[in-house]
Amino acid sequence: MIDLIAAKHAYLVVVALLAIGAYVMIESDNFVKKIIGLNVFQTGIFVFFISAAFRTDGASPVVQPGGGGGPFVSPLPHVLILTAIVVGVSLTAVALGLVVRVYESYGTINEDTLEEVLAND
């Protein structure tokens, strides 16, 4: 058990973040909290990619003139996640913009209350 935690702690963090994010999205009635859950879920995926890039004793992948200096950590997942973070920020912005519009129209950001309002609409 201790060995597992010591060797795979990054992946345990990934699983925890994915589970927490999914739980908040499903369980919470509040749209803003759902969006926070979404962000936590995405962060879990980011950690997964970044920890997959790690290797023991790896240096940052800046190759000096003449080469050598390895082993390096893989730079590719970092670049991918930089892109994915930008995508995540834009999605959060659009989602929050929509929440503002929902609030302006119905005066609530609670899913259950909103469903009652829509049913009477």
Partner: protein
Amino acid sequence: MTDAFVPLLVAVPLLGAVLAVAAGLVSERGPPAIAAVVLVAQTGLAGWIGSQALLNGDLSNGVGGFVAPYGIELVVDGLSAVVVTLVAVVSLAVLGYAVRDDPGGAAFYAEYLLLVTGLTGMSVTGDVFNLYVFLEISGLATYALVASAGTGRSAVSALKYLLFGTVAASLYLLGVGYALVATGTLNMADLAVELARVGYDSPLVLASFGFVVVGLATKTALFPLHTWQPDAYNDSPDSVSALISALVSTVAAYALLRLVYTVYTPAFFDAVPVARDAIVVFACLSIVVGSVLAVAQSEVKRMLAYSSVSQYGLVVVGLAIGTRAALFGAVVHLVGHAIMKGGLFVAAGAVDDLTGARTVEEYAGLADRFPVLGGASAVLMLAMVGVPPAVGFAGKWYIALGAVRAGTWPVAAVIFVSTLLTLAYFAILVERMFVAPASASVRAATDGGSERLGGPAAPPRSLLALIVGAAAVAVVLGFAVTGLETALDPTLDTLLSP
């Protein structure tokens, strides 16, 4: 030589989106004009590049001079040529309706062109991570377009769509992550080789397949992952429902086909037959439940939306069975469904504008008052049911033929039952339009002129041309299917080679 122009397919609408915003600062009429010019150029470009790809074989371009598998590769083969052309043509045709129906300002046209960018990018990319980025670009543009109706309800639907769509794309990204960990590459052609080397029964490969399929199936709106879709189609502006019902899920289904056949290859299905069976069961369920839910709807746009759940089930069944006929049928049905469903949504929007009728009951007597509109809609509906010679028949025929050849009789039975159910919900609508006496809203529209518009109660000519055009294309494509089969022959060979 043509290869060098492939990136323009993505760059032209992207540049157009920026120009549309800039033009909006100068003049109110600028953005629609820019959108029209850009989409005409895009259609020309897609037609030219697509025909080159179909005639002379695949085109590919390493973006920025970085060679594959290290750089991002754009690839146009026969299949992506068909999808790219479909995206360009449909978005150009629907733009004519959008300009008339929802003058939404510069932002609307910028989002419209961004959606075209994302969908085209998804169709031509040869890189799985790049596909994720384009998936999210088209997703973001769609959420904004759905909300552009300006009502509170549309904002709720867009938010719901956003939550589903983002989780779907995230699951796809997780699948890509597993594939990257297993192989260290993101290029589709390279992944096919490397995944085979890792071994298809490796847990990493199996997990990546599962996440990718669930993610893209949600974007395609297969049952039970479809719950975002009817609200999004129903609450968006009429022109937007026509555009997204025709294209967004279509390109997601194309991406699923591309991933399954180019990345995992048919050899994966042979090694892991349970994956194929699971997708077949999943899709058959979607066909039946989608049709049953469609029959139960009273609002026409919702009925059309649930009908899509069932039709995409058919497409996915075709690609999962994976015989040559079934795969070709899936492609035909993908294209045919886009044209028929797009045309039906335009017709539903036109009827709403003219008479305010939104439910099946209110459609009563429509064809007496608006014979051309009613007639063209009926043709589209019968084409969707699968009456020969329309394209809806050709697609279903090839999928059913493929199922029979593969020996999966239950699937052939499901396709037959689904045809009956499709007939059930469209027959009610056709009966209302042609036989029943006119409803109050239809009478009001023709007697006193529509109060909502205050103008004469006749559908605008351009709109009629669009709907009749869609009906004509749906019928003509049915005759052109054998030609398409010859043109796609080499592509199907490549996709099906293990």
